[in-house]
Amino acid sequence: MSEPALHIEDLAKRYPTGVEALRGVSLDIVPGELFGLLGPNGAGKSTLIHCTTGLAQPTAGSIEVFGNDAIDDYAEARQAVGLAPQEPNLDWFLTVAETLDYHAGYFGMAKRERRERTDELLETFSLTEKRDERTRTLSGGMKRRLILARALMHRPRLLILDEPTAGVDVELRLELWHYVQKINQEGTTILLTTHYLEEAEQLCDRIAFIAEGQIVARGTSAEVAARFGVSSLEDAYLALVGRKELSRSHAELEVAP
């Protein structure tokens, strides 16, 4: 049996402020899976992602990426992970092409390979004409595309997308989802957080709900919905956050003659 793409066990994170962002999270994502991590703001999604990618230090627990430790002896694990963070974190001094080139260099890619991969991804994400422009001049949508391209530069086996479509227009959102599905079909494992529940339902093989730093449900979207005794992922989410009255089926019943 192959190693899980991501194996998290009893992960805890307490910030210096005293906030317990993660309280004993355990999670397995199998290779090739498109896994959705859903939950309200502040539930612990980004903290879990930061712990996995080295941007936060876990207080307790373990994380393995394809069988490699991701906390202490992290080099192999990090090599396998690509991160597209929620907040655009581009260096204003760099051009679009430099952003990709430097990122690939951090992962040890040779010059010729970096150049070819940069050209390929700029083309894929319609950024070729912007290659020599500084990142601060890009529109919000272009920044999103560049962040995704950067995450893919070193050909990660596990791609982590932290709300990749937050604040982008419908056209770009669909474009990004199509690309995400394509690379998933080509074998890249994907961990996705999003607030677009319908899309998570359509795209993800399995889903986990996280609330107050704990995984409260996991499985296929049908299994998660059943866990809450409802028929859709959206209703399960509303049940999770204690806002059942906002359910569309509830509203339809109320307006029916």
Binding site: G54, L55, Q57, W92, G108
Partner: protein, 255 residues
Amino acid sequence: MSTAQIRFATLWRREVNRFMKIKKQTLGAPLLETFLYISVFGAALGSRIDKLHGIDYVVFVIPGLIMMAWSINAFTNNSSSILQQKFQGAIQDQLSSPASPLELLLAFSLGGFMRGLIVAVLTFVASSFLVDLPVDHILVLVPSLFLVGFFFSQLGVLIGVRAEQFDDVAFAQTFILTPLIFLGGVFYSAELLPEPYETLTHFNPIYYMINLVRYGFVGFTEVSIALSLLALTAATAVLFAINLRLFSAGYKLRA
């Protein structure tokens, strides 16, 4: 090149590229500033002061100015680069890479070191056209300048990591570093100061650095060269160890 070599070269290249993109500010301005000092203190005032310890005043001043240029540029570059990348979140790209704390620290350190080196070398070359600047003890001069550059690179990294706003960096530079450098004897000999200022100068670590560099150039010193080199090496090693510990712990870098 191995994967690790490519990674380190890229981290270092990025830091150098940052200041090379704004050369007017990062190289041009400090060069102009140094020349204004040479013009005012060396040429204008120097013509009245004549000699200090048997050395032309302008020649006495230039070694200190070269040291000052290297130290301030190394410090400023690293402190502002790290803070700016923390502020933008851009530093996450390096922090989530396979790079080790040691690789990250060295790359950030060498960015400022290179900027200081370039400004110092250009100042030296240009000064050599204006005055007859000797190099009496190159075996003391080169290690002294490299140690000074590395010490201030480390100091810049430390302040950049600890800083939470640009005011923190400006405070360290304006209220601590610059007064220490100016009062460390760049423009005068401490032996000429009245008490208690002469004694107080001996508590300023930069006084020893200036003397090391001045000895390397013109052969004059007011302190023990061996002891100063030893103390500077020890201080640089301590700063480096502190920074490595901060990078390993992710202090104010990782959540």
